[in-house]
């Protein structure tokens, strides 16, 4: 298949950036989207040009490194799929494909399609943990946890921190990301003692980092490659209100 790419090129944080067009021919529909970019980059390097920078690592959809906008959608058209798990068979011959980085004030562009998502780490370090020093844990099975709660906590904990939720949101809110972590600990007894402080300080950090407010449009969950549910946001809101009582 042949494809027509338009890719955002931006040298660094300070550069203004612009789209550039590239045409690729005879692409095997069974290769992955990132392998298609590898082919483009290989060609660019052969032409002594700079390749397109993009983040990626595990290429198994779990590390959360990859992610950019494909035709206006974070991670592209396939539901519940990271870019690295997307294949060219999801596109048609002669398609025009527009690639640009995740856009959010809190995610500065590093280069081309790569953005800085360290704001997420700062949200976690403000409270996304249980304070238990190594070696001070009690016997694991002395805490019985209802299976349904454990399973639900797992679903919240499955967030890969890719930032698609922020990119999908018209307000660039990090609510789904933050709520998923708060939820995991709300659903487990281990999270209970620090719950109040956790939810308050994570929400405060989210605001300090410049993420926007949540207006419950649901775009985040719709675009989330791990299908993190909106219920997490409801749970965070509940916990936040409770913490102020």
């Amino acid at each position: 298949m042949n494809i027509n790419l338009k890719i955002w090129r931006q040298k660094d944080k300070k550069d203004k950036g612009r789209f550039k067009a590239y045409k690729l021919q005879n692409i095997d529909p069974n290769i992955s989207f990132l392998e298609m970019l590898d082919i483009l980059n290989n060609r660019l390097i052969k032409e002594k040009l700079e390749p397109v920078a993009f983040d990626h690592d595990c290429r198994e959809g779990i590390c959360g490194s990859c992610g950019f906008m494909i035709n206006g959608q974070p991670h592209g058209p396939q539901k519940a799929t990271t870019v690295c798990q997307l294949h060219m068979r999801s596109f048609n011959d002669e398609d025009e494909i527009l690639l640009e980085p995740f856009r959010a004030n809190s995610f500065k562009v590093v280069k081309d399609l790569s953005v800085d998502r360290t704001a997420f780490d700062r949200i976690i370090s403000s409270g996304g943990f249980v304070s238990v020093d190594t070696g001070k844990a009690e016997e694991a099975n002395s805490t019985v946890i209802e299976k349904s709660n454990a399973d639900e906590a797992f679903l919240s904990a499955a967030c890969i921190g890719c930032g698609a939720c922020v990119a999908a949101c018209k307000n660039s809110s990090a609510m789904l990301f933050t709520a998923a972590k708060v939820s995991q600990f709300t659903l487990l007894p281990q999270g209970e003692p620090e719950q109040k402080e956790r939810v308050q300080s994570m929400v405060a950090t989210m605001d300090e980092e410049g993420f926007g407010a949540c207006t419950n449009t649901g775009a985040c969950s719709a675009e989330c490659p791990k299908e993190i549910s909106q219920e997490n946001i409801a749970r965070l809101n509940r916990e936040f209100i409770k913490s102020q009582l």
Binding site: D12, N30, I31, S32, E35, D38, N42, L44, I45, K46, K48, L49, E50, P51, A53, H56, D57, C58, R59, E60, G61, I62, C63, G64, S65, T81, Q85, H87, V110, K111, D116, R117, D121, S125, G128, F129, V130, V132, D133, T134, G135, K136, A137, E138, E139, A140, N141, T143, I145, K147, A150, D151, A153, F154, A157, A158, I160, G161, Q184, L188
Partner: protein, 640 residues
């Protein structure tokens, strides 16, 4: 060059109390004293993050570096199946001794007894710690923790979180690390590559890093350095490792004098999605846990082009069940991989390339229903369907072995210290616990054992004998020289200005290493590899082209700096494989096999750890650490 005495410092006497006794004699430091010391940790995956968090809890100041933007991106995150622990929750007769024995046997009697026993002993604490952190392990309906079985063992001791156990454990360690970022006991340096380790009076006292975003080369001082940099499977180009996983930090340490142990012990995992085409950039693992319920088979007939569903039962060869009636589909990884290669080499392979075997879930779906399979392996099935474009609920998966894990690594003593004083190595980056073959669900166990429970004790003992230093990194000669040398190396690569892309050369290297130092090796092939690899090295230094600037986010330069070290490592792997005239575990030398094509060990001549010393002018020097088995009886591994 016999100036080195490989003293493993393993405690003598009773095995069961060895670690406790050893720990009792390790020096301790109060929080106030610890606060005077700084430790550098390179890599923040399971091992690095857990060590960073624990050391900070003990009062040390930690500078942690990663080439990722966040510790949560480390490749530990991709481990699917689970983590072993001798909790004996299933009352199936499991015990520390049994986990110890399984691991020693699984490693084909090429690991240290004392290390492995300590690992088994620590395993139970890991589960307690992770549960306390809020890691959402799978649970039974009664609310207690669930377990499953894994290859190479007959008990159920693997704890898991669906097919995302590595993710959940890493996020646990990352959360513990994040808590210390808040207290500022840990400083995290994202997107930094370590390019050199700095020695002062022969001791590791710092590192040189490159900031990947702006190319800045900088020296950092510390009182000790921990390498937690993972494995080197990407030497094969195609592997299940993440794209950026590399050997550079370890290799730079090796060049500075740290011995590299058993480099040719590389694990080829039996259940991966087969290679499809020449553009393939990496391989994807399907968790070994699938072999609990999936049955492996190929058509009895050669070159059988029928669809799998058209091949009747009696014309299928369930070769693992046939050859190994006791363990069946749950034989260890090395055995399963080699047998897959064997049937494919024999013309019974399936799929377009003929290099694949079926992993079939028809029987379990018939017996227990699709829901059961979905609950247990849902995400793995989705992943398979997405990549292979086939529905594994309807048609068997096609799988083939792929490079997955490296048992070899930096040589460390019982304290996890390399042959460079003050330089420690933990997790997959060291060679310590898995011998010639690692059992499933043991990598997560080792990473966390080293990071949470072992190195924090042993490094404290080391530091208690060191005066906390405040080297002036900007002005001290040795740090300045290290920075200059690193800058010179980078300039040299930038100035080659050839016409080959880094990946082209890497692919070439990978093919040689896969063909000749892969699943099975022979002396002729290894000699050929030793002939070809230097030519690839020459090609790299004459022909590579790096676009862009060194003072910029330059992913090609990062790759080139890593490939340069992979090429040198590949040569060492071939040396090691050629030198070991026996077969053991994952190291299968075709000249040394039994009549039934099983690995034939030579315990009289090769019961040692091969630790190699870098030699800039030629062949590496071999040092041997003899292995002694006092608590298990040496025997030929049998899974029949």
């Amino acid at each position: 060059m016999n100036d080195l005495n490989l003293n493993s410092k393993t405690p003598t006497g009773d095995l069961h109390t060895a670690w406790t006794r050893h720990k009792d004699f390790l020096e301790k430091l109060s929080k106030e004293e610890a606060n005077k010391y700084k430790i550098i940790i390179i890599g923040t995956g399971l091992a690095g993050a857990s060590a960073a968090a624990t050391l900070a809890e003990k009062g040390f100041n930690v500078d942690a570096f990663s080439y990722h933007e966040s510790p949560r991106r480390a490749h530990s995150i991709a481990a699917q199946g689970g983590i072993n622990a001798a909790k004996n929750y299933k009352h199936d007769g499991d015990s520390t001794m049994r986990l110890f024995y399984d691991t020693i046997k699984g490693g084909d009697f090429r690991s240290r007894e004392e290390n492995v026993y300590r690992l088994a002993e620590t395993s139970v604490n890991i589960i307690d710690q992770c549960v306390a952190q809020g890691v959402p392990f799978a649970r039974e309906y009664g609310g207690l923790l669930d377990n499953r079985s894994f290859g190479g063992v007959q008990v159920s001791r693997t704890f898991y979180a669906r097919g995302q156990t590595g993710q959940q454990l890493l996020l646990g360690a990352y959360s513990a690390l994040s808590r210390q970022l808040k207290t500022e006991k840990v400083r995290f340096f994202p997107r930094h590559d370590m390019l050199d380790v700095v020695l002062v009076d022969g001791k590791a006292k710092g590192v040189v890093t490159r900031n990947l975003l702006n190319g800045e080369i900088k020296a950092h001082q510390a009182d000790a350095v921990i390498l937690a940099t993972g494995g080197y499977g990407n030497v094969y180009y195609l592997s299940t490792n993440a794209m950026a996983s590399n050997v550079t930090a370890n290799w730079r340490a090796h060049r500075k004098g740290a011995l590299f142990a058993n480099p040719s012990f590389t694990q080829i995992h039996p259940t991966c999605i087969p290679v499809k085409n020449n553009f393939q950039s990496k391989l994807t693992l399907m968790s070994e846990s699938l072999r609990n319920d999936g049955r492996v088979w190929v058509p009895k007939q050669k070159n059988d082009k029928r669809k799998p569903n058209e091949i009747p039962e009696q014309e299928r060869d369930y070769y693992l069940e046939r050859i190994y009636p006791a363990f069946g589909n749950l034989v260890p990884r090395d055995v399963a991989s080699r047998r897959a290669k064997e049937v494919c080499d024999n013309g019974q392979g399936v799929g377009p390339t003929g290099f694949a075997v079926y992993l079939d879930f028809k029987h379990v779906i018939q017996n227990k229903g699709e829901g059961y399979v979905r609950e247990k392996y849902g995400n793995l099935f989705d992943m398979y369907q997405n990549i292979a474009d086939e529905n594994p609920y309807k048609t068997p998966m096609k799988i083939y072995p792929a490079v997955h894990y490296t048992m070899g690594g930096l040589w460390v003593d019982y304290n996890l210290m390399t042959t460079i004083p003050g330089l420690f190595s933990i997790g997959e980056s060291n060679f310590s616990d898995h011998g010639a073959n690692r059992l499933g669900a043991s990598a997560l166990m080792q990473g966390l054992a080293d990071g949470y429970f072992i190195v924090p004790h042993t490094i404290t003992d080391y530091l208690s004998k060191e005066k906390p230093g405040n080297q002036d990194t900007a002005n001290s000669e040795v740090f300045k020289n290290a920075v200059n040398k690193t800058e010179k190396d980078i300039n040299k690569i930038m100035n080659i200005k050839g016409d080959m892309v880094v990946d082209e050369i890497h692919r070439e290297l990978g093919k040689v290493v896969w063909d000749k130092v892969g699943m099975s090796r022979n002396s002729r092939g290894l000699k050929e590899a030793l002939d070809i690899i230097p030519k690839i090295k020459e090609k790299f230094w004459n022909n590579v082209f790096i676009p862009g600037s060194k003072n910029d986010y330059n992913q090609e330069l990062e790759k080139a700096l890593r490939l340069k070290d992979f090429i040198e490592l590949a040569e060492l792997m071939a040396f090691d494989a050629l030198d070991r005239n026996e077969s053991c575990g994952a190291h299968f030398r075709e000249e040394f096999q039994t009549k039934e094509n099983e690995a034939k060990r030579n315990d009289i001549e090769f019961m040692y750890v091969a630790a190699w010393k870098y030699n800039a002018d030629g062949k590496p020097n071999l040092f041997k650490e003899d292995l002694k088995y006092k608590h298990v009886k040496l025997k030929t591994r049998s899974y029949k």
